[in-house]
C-alpha cells in the first residue's frame, strides 16, 4: 500500500546568500526579497553579517550572510534554507549547517582554489567531503563567467569582481522564476547615479539567469512528506535517485545484473548519473551516443540476459519508439523510464507535465502494446521502478515507467527498506526438459502467455529473434495472415493478463460518497490532500489513484461503477480521462486539467471539484 503523502504546496522557500563581507551578499538578498514581494510573496529576511566590516578576505570571521524566506504563510526567515549560495569556502563552512536535507548548494567554484581553502582552514582539497556534504552542489564558475560577461566593459578587474553577487542573484532568479525585469529595475534605482555600474550589473544578472536556463538548473520547491509511521532507518531521497535504487533492488531480487543504456536529458539525467556511480554495486551504466542507442543497447543487454533499462524524458521516448517496438515483438524484458516534462518538442525541459501518457500507451507503429506504470511520489519511484522491472521480467515485455519532473526532483524522507520488504522476481528460465522437447522461442506459458527467457552462452538454447513476424508454432519468419493476427492477439492478451499480477485499486477518503476523484502518477500528494480537505469541509468525495496504467487494476470497472460522478484531475488536456472513457464507455467522466508546467495547487483541485459538484 502507498503511504500517505503531504505536499507542502509552493509554501515558501528559504534562500541564504553567503560570501565574504565585501561580496555584496546583502544587496543580492535584498533584491531577491524585493522582487519576490513584488510578485505577491510574503517575505521575511535575516541579514547575518559579521561584526568586522572588513575581516580578512576569505576568512571564517569575514563571512556575511543574508537569509530570506519568500512565499505564503511566511512568519519567520526560516530555520533552515532550501538553497545556500556560498561564494567561497569560508561561507560554505560557516553556513552549511543551515541547509535543509534535500537542499541545494550553489558555489562559486572559481574561488575554491587551494589558497581559498587554506584561508577557510580546510585540511584537505575536498571541502565538500570534509564537511560531509551529500546535498546537491551546483558548482558554477561565477567569477570567470562574470569576467567574461564584462570583458568588453572597460571596467577594471576589481569593479568587475564586485558584480559576482549579481551573477549569483541572476541564477537564483532563474531557479525560482523571478521576473528579471523587476530585479533590473531595482538595480537601476540603486545605481541611478552610476550608469556604467548599472549597465554592468544588468548584463551580469542576465548572464546568471541565462546560465541557469542553459544548464537546465532546477531546484524543487516542493517538499513531499511521506507519512510512514514504521520505525526504521530513514534517509532523504529524491524521485530520480529512488528510481535508480528501485532498479538495483529489482536486480538483487531477480538475480539478473542491471544494465542501463542512456543519454543525458533533462529532467532524467540524474538517473543515469546515479547509476553511473553505482558501479560500486556492479551496475553497468553506459552513456550512449544518442537516445536510440540508449534503448538499443538496453535491448541488446536484455537479449544477453541482463535486467535492461533505458532512461529518458518525452523527446527521448519519441526517439526510442521503434526500439520499444522491437522489444515488443522480440518479447524481451525492457524498462523504459520517462521522467515527463512539458512538451511538445523541446517544450519546457525543466517543468513538470503528464503529457506523455498517450505516447507511452500508443506511440509506436503497429499493434504494439506495452505495460505502463506511474509512481505517485518521490519515494514511490523506488517501488514503481521495482514493479516496472518485476512486470518486465515476469511477463517478458517492455514496461514504461512514467515519472515526472515534479516527483523526479522532489524529495522526501524515506524508510530504507529491508531486502525482504520486496518480493522475489521470478525469472521465466528455460528449463532443460523444454529444450529436449524441441523448444521454440515463441512457445508460451498457457496461463500467462509469457515465453521463456533463454540466455546466450547456454549450450543447446541457440535461437534467433527479430523484428519480423514469427510463426506461433515454429518461430520461423512468417507472413501468414492468420498467424499474424494470432500473434498480435497473443501479445495483446499477454499484456492484459498482467492484471492478474498487480494489486487492486484502493479507494481512499469517503468511500460512500457519490463522487470519486481520480488521479494517476505524480499528482497523488496534491489530490489526496485536496480530497481530504473536501471531506473535512463537508463535501464528501472518494479518492482513487492509479499507479498501474496498462493494464488497469482488475477492479477498476467495479469501482467506477459505484460512483455517480467521476472526476479525473491530471496535468494535461485529459489523456487519462479519455483513456478511461474509451475503456469504460457510458461513465460520466468530468475533468480537471492544468497544462502550465507546474504541479496542481491543492486549492485548484478543491475549487475544481466544488465547481463540478455544483453542476447538475
Amino acid at each position: 500500500m502507498l503511504e500517505k503523502t503531504n505536499v507542502k504546496v509552493l509554501d515558501k522557500v528559504v534562500v541564504r546568500f553567503s560570501g565574504d563581507s565585501g561580496d555584496g551578499m546583502q544587496l543580492a538578498g535584498n533584491i531577491f526579497t524585493n522582487v519576490s514581494a513584488g510578485v505577491g510573496n510574503q517575505v521575511s529576511t535575516f541579514p547575518d553579517y559579521p561584526a568586522e566590516i572588513r575581516a580578512p578576505q576569505g576568512s571564517l570571521s569575514g563571512v556575511s550572510g543574508f537569509q530570506v524566506s519568500v512565499g505564503t504563510h511566511v512568519h519567520t526567515p526560516g530555520d533552515q534554507c532550501d538553497v545556500l549560495v556560498a561564494m567561497n569556502p569560508a561561507a560554505l563552512k560557516q553556513n552549511v549547517k543551515f541547509l535543509k536535507p534535500g537542499g541545494v548548494i550553489i558555489v562559486d567554484i572559481d574561488s575554491f582554489k587551494e589558497a581559498d581553502l587554506k584561508k577557510a582552514l580546510f585540511e584537505t582539497d575536498d571541502p565538500f567531503k570534509e564537511l560531509g556534504i551529500t546535498a546537491q552542489v551546483l558548482d558554477v564558475p561565477i567569477t570567470s563567467m562574470t569576467k567574461a560577461a564584462l570583458a568588453d566593459s572597460g571596467m577594471d578587474n576589481k569593479s568587475i569582481l564586485k558584480c559576482r553577487n549579481i551573477f549569483a542573484l541572476g541564477l537564483v532568479c532563474w531557479l525560482f522564476d523571478r521576473p528579471l525585469q523587476s530585479a533590473i529595475n531595482f538595480l537601476k534605482n540603486k545605481f541611478a547615479k552610476k550608469p556604467a555600474i548599472f549597465e554592468a550589473n544588468a548584463k551580469v544578472i542576465n548572464a546568471g539567469y541565462n546560465y541557469g536556463a542553459n544548464i537546465h538548473a532546477t531546484v524543487s520547491t516542493y517538499r513531499i512528506e511521506t507519512e510512514d509511521p514504521r520505525p526504521g532507518i530513514y534517509t532523504d531521497i529524491n524521485g530520480n535517485t529512488a528510481t535508480a535504487w528501485g532498479l538495483i533492488m529489482a536486480s538483487e531480487k531477480s538475480g539478473r545484473p542491471l544494465f542501463l543504456g542512456s543519454y543525458p536529458i533533462t529532467p532524467a539525467t540524474d538517473i543515469l548519473q546515479e547509476l553511473a556511480k553505482r558501479k560500486d554495486l556492479g551496475v553497468k551504466a553506459c552513456q550512449m551516443e544518442d537516445e536510440i542507442a540508449g534503448v538499443c543497447s538496453a535491448i541488446g543487454a536484455s537479449f544477453a540476459g541482463d535486467l535492461a533499462v533505458t532512461s529518458t524524458s518525452g523527446p527521448g521516448l519519441a526517439l526510442k519508439s521503434e526500439g520499444i517496438g522491437l522489444a515488443v515483438i522480440a518479447e524481451l524484458p525492457l524498462v523504459v523510464i520517462d521522467v515527463q516534462r512539458g512538451g511538445p518538442s523541446t517544450g519546457l525541459p525543466t517543468k513538470t507535465e503528464q503529457t506523455d501518457l498517450l505516447q507511452a500507451l500508443y506511440g509506436r507503429n503497429g499493434e504494439s502494446p506495452v505495460a505502463v506504470v506511474a509512481p505517485a511520489s518521490p519515494t514511490d519511484c523506488f517501488t514503481m521502478a521495482f514493479e516496472a522491472c518485476r512486470i518486465a521480467i515476469e511477463h517478458m515485455t517492455p514496461v514504461i515507467l512514467l515519472s515526472d519532473a515534479f516527483i523526479g526532483n522532489g524529495s522526501s524522507a524515506w524508510r530504507i527498506p529491508d531486502a525482504n520488504d520486496y518480493p522475489e522476481i521470478k525469472v521465466h528460465y528455460l528449463p532443460q526438459e523444454e529444450v529436449e522437447q524441441g523448444w521454440k522461442p515463441y512457445k508460451r506459458d498457457a496461463e500467462t502467455l509469457v515465453r521463456y527467457w533463454a540466455f546466450p552462452g547456454t549450450e543447446g538454447q541457440q535461437h534467433r529473434l527479430g523484428g519480423l513476424e514469427k510463426d506461433a508454432v515454429t518461430s520461423a519468419i512468417s507472413t501468414d495472415p492468420v498467424n499474424h493476427e494470432k500473434m498480435v492477439m497473443a501479445r495483446r492478451e499477454k499484456i492484459a493478463r498482467i492484471a492478474n499480477n498487480i494489486p487492486e485499486l484502493e479507494v481512499l477518503c469517503d468511500k460512500d460518497a457519490d463522487t470519486i476523484l481520480i488521479g494517476w502518477g505524480g499528482t497523488y500528494g496534491h489530490l489526496y490532500t485536496a480530497a481530504e480537505e473536501l471531506c473535512a469541509d463537508g463535501k464528501p468525495v472518494a479518492f482513487a489513484h492509479f499507479r498501474y496504467i496498462n493494464p488497469l487494476p482488475k477492479n477498476t470497472a467495479d469501482i467506477l461503477s459505484r460512483y455517480k460522478r467521476i472526476i479525473v484531475a491530471e496535468l494535461n488536456t485529459g489523456m487519462f480521462a479519455d483513456y478511461l472513457q474509451a475503456k469504460f464507455p457510458g461513465r460520466d467522466i468530468r475533468r480537471i486539467n492544468k497544462i502550465q508546467g507546474q504541479p496542481f495547487l491543492v486549492k485548484e483541485i478543491v475549487d475544481g471539484v466544488n465547481k463540478i459538484m455544483e453542476e447538475k
Partner: protein, 337 residues
C-alpha cells in the same frame, strides 16, 4: 565431453537461404561458416546481430544466438549485448545503407568506443531490399531509381570513416575471394576491439557488376593488392608490381624497371600504431592504385567492454558494498524508533 572442434555445418541453421540466386551474400555466408569453424568458438558462445537489409537476414542462417533487429541499430544493440555478456563472440552484420546511412552514428561510435565486436559491412553500393535506390557508398552521378539523373552527392569511403572514428582494425575483401574473406574474418574475430571488415559484394539484381572494374577476373590481379602481414606489397599477374614511397604518397612501380628494385617495395605492417600509411593503403581506389584487400590495420587498444568490467571490479573492491542497503546505510541516515 565438450566439443572442441567444429565444422561449418555446426554453424548452419535449418532455415533455407532466401537471397537471390547469384547474390554475393551466399559466398560471404559460406566464408563466415568456415571462418567460425576455424576459429573454434562454439555456436552457443557466438552471437550474430544484424540490422535491416538483404545482408541483415544472415542471423537466420546461423545456428548461433542471433538477433535480426531494426534498421541501422545493430551496432548499438551489439554494444549492449557485448557489455552485458563479454563471454560471447559477437558478429554484427550490416550493409552500406544500414551501417553508414541510417546507422552511421552508431557505426562511428561503436568504432570509437572500441567495443569488442566484429562489424561486417557488406558493401554493394545500393539499397537492394527496397529495390534499387542509391546508397551512401554510391559514386557521384550514380543513376538509380531514386537518382534518375544521377546522384548529386559524394559517397563515403568506409575505410576513411573508420579511420576518422579512430578505428584500430580495418580489413577488406571481395565476396568471390573466399579464402581471403575467411582470412580477414578470422583476423577480425581474433582482434580485441571493434573490427571492421568491408566486403565488396555484388547485388545481382539491382547493381550487377558494380565492382567489376576492379573485381573482374581479367583485371583483378592488377587492380587489387592482397596485403599480408610482414610481406612485400606486391601485386599483378606476374607479382612484379609493387608499392613504393613517393614523397608522402604511394606509387605503383614495376620491379626491375625505372631503377626500382625489390628493396624499394614496402613491407606491410598492420600492427604499426600510426595509421598514416594504413589510411593511404585503405584509400587506394583500384584505378590509379590497386585496391587493398586483406587486413590493413590491426592494432591492439583497450576495449570498451573490458574497461567497463575492470572499472566495476575496481570500484566494487574499493567500496566493498554487498548490497543496495549497505550502500544506502553508508550515506546520511537517521533512525525512527
Amino acid at each position: 565431453m565438450e566439443q572442441t572442434a567444429y565444422t561449418p555445418a555446426n554453424f548452419k541453421s535449418d532455415q533455407s537461404v532466401r537471397w537471390c540466386p547469384g547474390c554475393g551474400d551466399h559466398a560471404i555466408l559460406n566464408s563466415l561458416h568456415k571462418a567460425m569453424a576455424t576459429l573454434g568458438v562454439p555456436p552457443h558462445k557466438t552471437a550474430v546481430i544484424s540490422g535491416i537489409g538483404c545482408s541483415s537476414r544472415l542471423p537466420y542462417y546461423m545456428n548461433t544466438y542471433g538477433f535480426h533487429t531494426i534498421h541501422g541499430r545493430a551496432a548499438a544493440i551489439a554494444t549492449g549485448f557485448k557489455v552485458a555478456n563479454p563471454e560471447m563472440t559477437v558478429w554484427q552484420i550490416s550493409g552500406d545503407g544500414d551501417g553508414l546511412a541510417i546507422g552511421g552514428n552508431h557505426f562511428i561510435h561503436a568504432v570509437r568506443r572500441n567495443i569488442d565486436i566484429n562489424m561486417l559491412l557488406f558493401n554493394n553500393k545500393i539499397y537492394g531490399l527496397t529495390k534499387g535506390q542509391y546508397s551512401p557508398t554510391s559514386a557521384r552521378g550514380f543513376v538509380s531509381k531514386s537518382s534518375p539523373y544521377g546522384t548529386t552527392e559524394d559517397p563515403f569511403i568506409p575505410a576513411e570513416l573508420v579511420f576518422g572514428a579512430r578505428g584500430q582494425f580495418f580489413a577488406r575483401s571481395i565476396d568471390v575471394e573466399l579464402a581471403i574473406t575467411q582470412e580477414v574474418l578470422l583476423a577480425a574475430a581474433k582482434h580485441k576491439g571493434a573490427s571492421v571488415v568491408e566486403i565488396l559484394q555484388n547485388c545481382v539484381i539491382y547493381n550487377n557488376g558494380i565492382h567489376n572494374p576492379i573485381t573482374d577476373k581479367e583485371v583483378r590481379a592488377d587492380r587489387t593488392i592482397h596485403l599480408r602481414q610482414g610481406e612485400k606489397m606486391l601485386f599483378g599477374k606476374e607479382m612484379n608490381r609493387g608499392l613504393v614511397r613517393d614523397g608522402f604518397l604511394l606509387k605503383a612501380v614495376t620491379v626491375g624497371e625505372d631503377g626500382y628494385t625489390m628493396d624499394d617495395v614496402l613491407v606491410h605492417d598492420a600492427h604499426t600504431e600510426s595509421n598514416f600509411l594504413h589510411q593511404q593503403l585503405a584509400m587506394m581506389d583500384g584505378i590509379t592504385l590497386p585496391l587493398a584487400i586483406g587486413v590493413i590495420r590491426d592494432v591492439a587498444s583497450p576495449t570498451y567492454n573490458e574497461s567497463v568490467d575492470q572499472q566495476v571490479e575496481e570500484v566494487r573492491a574499493k567500496k566493498g558494498f554487498t548490497c543496495l542497503r549497505d550502500m544506502i546505510l553508508a550515506g546520511e541516515t537517521w533512525e525512527v524508533k
